[in-house]
């Protein structure tokens, strides 16, 4: 066996790895400039939006396409924190709609978006399975150790809101699980694996008759603001602004409030 060649085969990837490591830090800028080069000719608007906006934004996207023939609205729905990270890593996007000011802040802090506008607010509700077998009817019931409760993890907006609401009520709840996002939390209720969970009112409405929502007064102390902003490097430029205008218009408000969101 040619040992020289073998040694080269081992050394080359290491050298590559090192080289990539050294240049890696500075390589995020070229990607953004490349995506802006298409300028105003773009006929596609790419919208990054919080998972809780899936239903309403899809509907608004269709309305936008109808009003602007020839344009397409593409969505990337996901956890706001994940989306914010993708944007700071130069994912090509035009509009960002987040489920919390904190996640929007990571994008504006990196000077990647203009001033955000709060377009809706969302409130927590207690979600229980359709039959509500554990007979939950107020927030205090969740402290009963016999009742299995799912909450969102504190790292995601719905979890942070849950902690705030429980603190405001002076209650201590020991959940069986801290879920990674609001949809996962709701799934546990839909399948009857937990007796109750704290999720957004909009998610309760979207789940239809599979779950029941119970409003509680302390939810007012933990209201989530949803900011929206056009991104600085938006490849679609003006179209992006027009999409945001649609979201803020009376038509947009109508769609959003019907889904359970509240006006800011």
């Amino acid at each position: 066996m040619s040992s020289r060649l073998f040694r080269w085969a081992v050394a080359a990837p290491l050298a590559l790895a090192l080289a990539a490591g050294l240049t890696g830090c500075g390589s995020s800028t070229p990607a953004t400039s490349a995506s802006t080069s298409s300028g105003g000719t773009a006929k596609t608007v790419t919208v990054f939006a919080a998972a809780s906006l899936t239903g309403t934004f899809t509907e608004l996207g269709k309305a936008f396409e109808a009003a602007h023939p020839g344009t397409t609205v593409r969505f990337n729905f996901g956890s706001s924190a994940t989306l914010a990270q993708q944007i700071t890593q130069a994912a090509p996007a035009d509009v960002f709609a987040a489920a919390s000011p904190a996640t929007m802040k990571t994008v504006t802090d990196a000077s990647l978006a203009g001033a955000p506008t709060t377009f809706v607010r969302n409130k927590l509700e207690i979600a229980v399975p359709a039959d509500n077998a554990a007979k939950v009817d107020e927030l205090k019931d969740l402290t009963d150790p016999k009742i299995k409760v799912a909450l969102c993890a504190e790292q995601v907006p719905c979890g942070a809101a849950a902690v705030k609401a429980l603190d405001a009520a002076g209650l201590k709840v020991t959940p069986v699980t801290l879920e990674q996002d609001v949809k996962a939390t709701l799934t546990k209720v839909e399948l009857g694996e937990v007796d109750a969970a704290l999720v957004y009112k909009t998610d309760v409405i979207a789940a239809g008759d599979k779950v029941q929502g119970i409003p509680f007064p302390e939810a007012d102390k933990a209201i989530n603001d949803y900011p929206i902003a056009v991104l600085s490097n938006a490849p679609a430029g003006d179209l992006a602004k027009q999409f945001v205008d649609l979201v803020l218009s009376p038509q947009g408000k109508d769609v959003l409030t019907k889904a359970g969101f509240e006006a800011p």
């Binding site: 990837p13 924190a81 993890a153 801290l178 879920e179 990674q180 799934t187 009857g192």
Partner: protein, 280 residues
């Protein structure tokens, strides 16, 4: 490094050097091999480059990290034990017993390999959950509920990892020389004795390799675990779950956690490999 010349159970002698094929190493193989290696190694280099080295020790000292690591190691090991207990007999059945529908069973057994783990987790909930097909009965008869427990983590990990063990053990069984088993049988050994005294020692390297693969898969399991067992520190929050949640708010903490998991698994796998898997 000298290769051993001890006879293996298979009866053949391991050659000291693969001197049978000589000549230049063909570029057609080397170039893609190097690209392949870089492809696998570069992301790791990325983690190392972006790691917050200055605050590393401070972050590692957090009790949650150790708790998650301990839970990960315990559950992955328990899941591997479950897989060995059930997977080796299953592989034997698939390799040695001709029964109708064997091909279908083999295909079904590998389903968890192609199933997105999150779907696997939902499937487990539908069967073993509190209102699941078997779960509701477990709950009413014994008061046992599996979701959101450490046992649930082990179940989710075993579900996802078992095919890896079954496939490698079945491969080993097919490659093993069946004449040894036949000889033992003609000498009056029962099928169970043949399995225990002849087959198992014959395929031991395959079983160990499968178990290592299975353990590694269980250690990295995320989707099925978070869906079936949920996420609660100390009870069901394994390292991959902790990494995912840390990523939501503190990417740097996530990198540290990933490095810990990586370092621990590489060390364990390297030790196991030297000790158990005789590789030249």
């Amino acid at each position: 490094m000298t290769a051993s010349t001890t006879p293996t159970a298979r009866g053949d002698v391991r050659r000291p050097e693969r001197s049978g094929v000589s000549g230049r190493v063909p570029w057609v193989l080397v170039v893609p091999a190097v690209i392949g290696m870089a492809f696998l190694v570069l992301p790791l280099a990325g983690l190392l480059v972006r790691a917050p080295w200055s605050t590393l020790t401070q972050r590692l000292a957090e009790p949650q990290v150790l708790e998650a690591l301990r839970l990960s190691l315990v559950t992955a090991t328990a899941a591997t034990a479950v897989c060995l207990l059930l997977g080796v007999p299953l592989a034997w059945l698939l390799a040695r017993v001709a029964f109708p529908g064997r091909r279908l069973v083999r295909a079904l057994v590998t389903v968890p390999l192609v199933l997105p783990p999150v779907v696997g987790g939902v499937a487990l909930l539908l069967v073993l959950g509190r209102r699941g097909l078997i779960g509701q009965w477990l709950d009413s008869a014994f008061g046992v509920t599996l979701p959101f427990t450490t046992t649930g983590v082990v179940i989710a990990e075993a579900f996802v990892a078992m095919p890896f063990l079954v496939i490698s053990v079945e491969g080993a069984l097919r490659a093993a020389d069946q004449r040894f088993e036949e000889a033992a049988a003609t000498l009056g050994a029962s099928r169970w004795t043949v399995f225990r005294r002849v087959t198992l020692p014959l395929i031991a390297p395959g079983v160990v390799a499968g178990a290592v693969l299975c353990w590694a898969r269980a250690l990295g399991e995320f989707g099925a675990t978070i869906t079936f067992a949920g996420n609660f520190p100390g009870r069901t929050q394994t390292m991959p779950l902790a990494v995912y949640l840390a990523l939501e708010t503190e990417p740097e903490a996530a990198i540290v956690l990933s490095l810990v998991l990586l370092a621990v698994s590489v060390i364990i796998l390297a030790c196991l490999r030297d000790r158990w898997v005789n590789s030249p």
